[in-house]
């Protein structure tokens, strides 16, 4: 008998007899009922508490904010996609900035060391955000592969304010994740960190040292309205 058959047989022929499965009540994981403002405030508070930076920008000219950010951080080499509207906008706006646009639509084998050693920042879109935990959700694609949110020292993520939802459970349910899981689905909630040295927090242990979330608002940024 194979290991598989042996294990399954042992489980099926359980000495104390079959078990009955309880029903689950998921109410505690959903129904937060937050307003748009509450969601945004909560998202910002939580992601800031773990060292994430949040910038509020107007949707129409968000790339100005991006350009300013890149200048402030001294970014010379920016990895980004080509097809996603975020990448298209960014490439257009940064064309004359002197910043090198690093193409990521290449198999990693061809440029692994370049990505690890020469890219200062990765720019990605996000699919949405989670207010309860201050998280971004990303489904990397061939246009925006997995490693550009991990390898460069700075990860810049673009989030539309109206794509914030209350809880992880809500996101999984509302967007039918179970029917269409991608190769890799990610929640990102801050820059890489560790507390393995005597519980002292340090950032950027393996992944990005900085995570900057550019929150795009349809009208004037909420922060300025207040």
């Amino acid at each position: 008998m194979s290991a598989r058959e042996t294990i399954l047989k042992r489980l099926r022929e359980r000495a104390d007899g079959p078990l009955s499965a309880p029903e689950s009540d998921f109410a505690v994981a959903t129904n937060r009922g937050w307003s748009v403002e509450e969601r945004l405030a909560r998202f910002e508070r939580l992601i800031s508490s773990v060292h994430g930076e949040v910038l509020h920008l107007e949707r129409d000219d968000w790339t100005q904010g991006l350009a300013q950010l890149l200048a402030d951080k001294g970014v010379r080499h920016l990895a980004l996609g080509k097809e996603h509207p975020v990448a298209v906008d960014a490439r257009r706006a940064l064309a004359d900035s002197g910043i090198e646009m690093v193409d990521v639509d290449r198999d990693i084998e061809a440029w692994q060391r370049e990505q690890f050693e020469q890219v200062d920042a990765g720019l990605t879109s996000t699919r949405g955000g989670i207010a309860e935990t201050g998280s971004l959700w990303l489904w990397p694609t061939s246009d925006e592969p997995r490693l550009i949110s991990l390898v460069p020292s700075i990860h810049i993520a673009v989030l539309d304010a109206d794509a914030l939802e209350d809880t992880f459970f809500d996101v999984v349910e509302a967007h039918g994740w179970a029917e269409r899981m991608p190769t890799n689905a990610l929640l990102i909630s801050g820059p890489s960190k560790t507390a393995d040295i005597e519980q002292t927090l340090a950032y950027g242990v393996h992944g990005p040292r900085e995570l900057v979330v550019l929150v795009r608002h349809a009208g004037a940024p909420a922060g300025e309205k207040a």
Partner: protein
């Protein structure tokens, strides 16, 4: 200063008492654990502030119970969905078989270098040593695991492997083993480890990781982490091997968010970790990164045995958060290595006897004051104190005999003594006259009772029995009322 921490393999659960004695006499160990556990307990409490914790624990326990109730079906469903997604699935009855499977995967790719994300199952089956025997280097990439490996130790905590080391000790290890400057600057040390490990990620032939939750419904492997080494391990090398115990499967994707909430808050008091990494397939055509091959190794190693027994089954609900050790007064004082097992603390004391047998681990179920803290904080409501008592019964042959090595602690003398006590206590007349005689003869009571009196004074029978005292008291009260 020098780091005088004994090497890994000197710790054994057989030597629990000696090791506990040594740890208690080591002020460094005691200070390191006390400080860390105090911090973790406070953080956990704060992180559940705005939650209905009891409702969430109820749901967590319920999800795990449902998964266990359907375990064989869910494992088959997981396998079918993983296969459909292109993930290759392997089954292993024990640790050795799992090691062989992983070694063969490595050898089929001529792998010389393996980089590892944190995996307690791989510790349980001693994967690193197994790979090293055939000339494959296995490097831990979680910072804590990396430090512990550099220091030739094993983890002392399932979530914070290097919690037994303080900053000075870590500075010394990194200086000795990697040649960086001695420094108390945590950012400097972290940056040094980052650049050392980045080279290794790029060079690794295979990445080996654990799994926090395996989702049957979608064939997805979920990994929880803060550092990003898990994502590196599962994305950079051309081959990814995930290894997990068969109990880690859950039925639906919607089961995952509540368990994830419970896990991070219970473990470190974080409302969320930096990364939640869900892997459902190898690199697809047209994608530009990620491993081209993904394997899942399902390891039994004693779990299907635990599964047979209605009471012991609860052990398998565990989501490996470590809250039970963080809150354990024994763990906090003796530290993780003292247990001499892969899983220390209360969960280790109820799990290890199944993995290693009670002959090896007979002292672990008694390494508890039964204060109940572990059961109270467990996010999936495992009745750990009850299970400790059950294993104590098993170890003296008073259980159902469902644990390997059951009865190992049974002695004829002790069994007879309890039998005698039981007989006395259920025969009131003889009990009463017996206790009265004992009271009269109290000068003859022994003052030394083996280990018991090493730190305690021996009990002396009272001159007058409680029964007699109560009777006298009631009589005098009745007398007063009459007057």
């Amino acid at each position: 200063m020098s780091v005088q921490t004994p090497g890994v393999y000197t710790y054994s659960p057989r030597e629990f008492h000696r090791q506990a004695h040594d740890a208690l006499g080591n002020p460094q160990i005691r200070a390191n654990f006390r400080k860390a556990m105090d911090g973790l307990m406070t953080k956990r409490r704060d992180s559940f502030g705005d939650w209905d914790l009891e409702a969430l624990r109820e749901l967590g326990a319920n999800i795990r119970l449902r998964a266990l109730a359907k375990l064989p079906d869910l494992l088959e469903q997981l396998e079918a969905n993983c296969k459909a997604n292109g993930i290759r699935v392997h089954w292993a009855e024990d640790g050795d078989q799992a090691c062989r499977i992983i070694r063969e995967i490595c050898q089929s790719h001529d792998a010389r270098s393996v980089v590892k994300g944190k995996s307690m199952v791989s510790e349980e089956m001693h994967l690193n040593a197994h790979l090293e025997e055939v000339g494959i280097e296995a490097l831990e990439s979680d910072l804590g695991e990396y430090l512990v490996q550099l220091n030739e130790q094993t983890p002392s905590h399932i979530i914070m492997p290097a919690i037994h080391l303080n900053t000075d000790e870590i500075s010394e290890i990194l200086h000795d083993k990697t040649g960086i400057e001695r420094s108390r600057d945590v950012d400097y040390m972290t940056a040094a480890a980052r650049s050392q490990l980045r080279e290794r990620f790029m060079a690794a032939d295979v990445g080996v990781s654990g799994v926090n939750f395996a989702v049957a419904e979608t064939g997805s492997l979920c990994l929880v982490e803060n550092e990003g080494n898990g994502r590196m391990t599962t994305t950079v090398p051309p081959v990814h091997v995930a290894v997990t115990g068969i109990e880690k499967v859950v039925e639906h994707l919607r089961d995952v968010p509540p368990l994830y909430s419970l896990l991070t808050r219970s473990a470190t008091g974080q409302h969320v970790t930096t990364y939640f990494n869900m892997i459902s397939s190898p690199r697809k055509a047209g994608e530009h990164d990620g491993p081209k091959e993904v394997h899942l190794v399902l390891v039994d190693n004693g779990r299907s045995n635990i599964y047979q027994d209605d009471e012991l089954l609860d052990t398998l609900r565990c989501i490996r958060c470590g809250a039970c050790m963080n809150h354990c007064p024994v763990y906090t004082r003796v530290g993780g290595h003292t247990y001499g097992t892969t899983y220390p603390g209360p969960i280790g004391s109820i799990l290890s006897p199944h993995l290693m047998g009670l002959e090896e681990t007979k002292d672990l179920p008694t390494a508890s004051s039964l204060c109940g803290a572990c059961g109270e904080v467990c996010p999936v409501k495992i009745p750990i104190p009850d299970l400790l008592v059950r294993l104590r019964r098993e170890s003296v042959g008073e259980g159902r005999g469902n644990v390997p090595g059951a009865g190992v602690k049974r002695t004829r003398k002790e069994a007879a003594a309890w039998k005698g006590f039981q007989w006395l206590a259920t025969h009131p007349a003889i009990w009463r006259s017996g206790t009265a005689v004992a009271g009269k003869l109290k000068v003859l009571a022994p003052s030394r009772l083996g280990v018991w009196t090493e730190y305690r004074s021996a009990p002396k029978p009272a001159g007058t029995t409680l029964h007699a005292l109560v009777k006298r008291h009631q009589a005098s009260k009745a007398h007063e009322e009459e007057r």
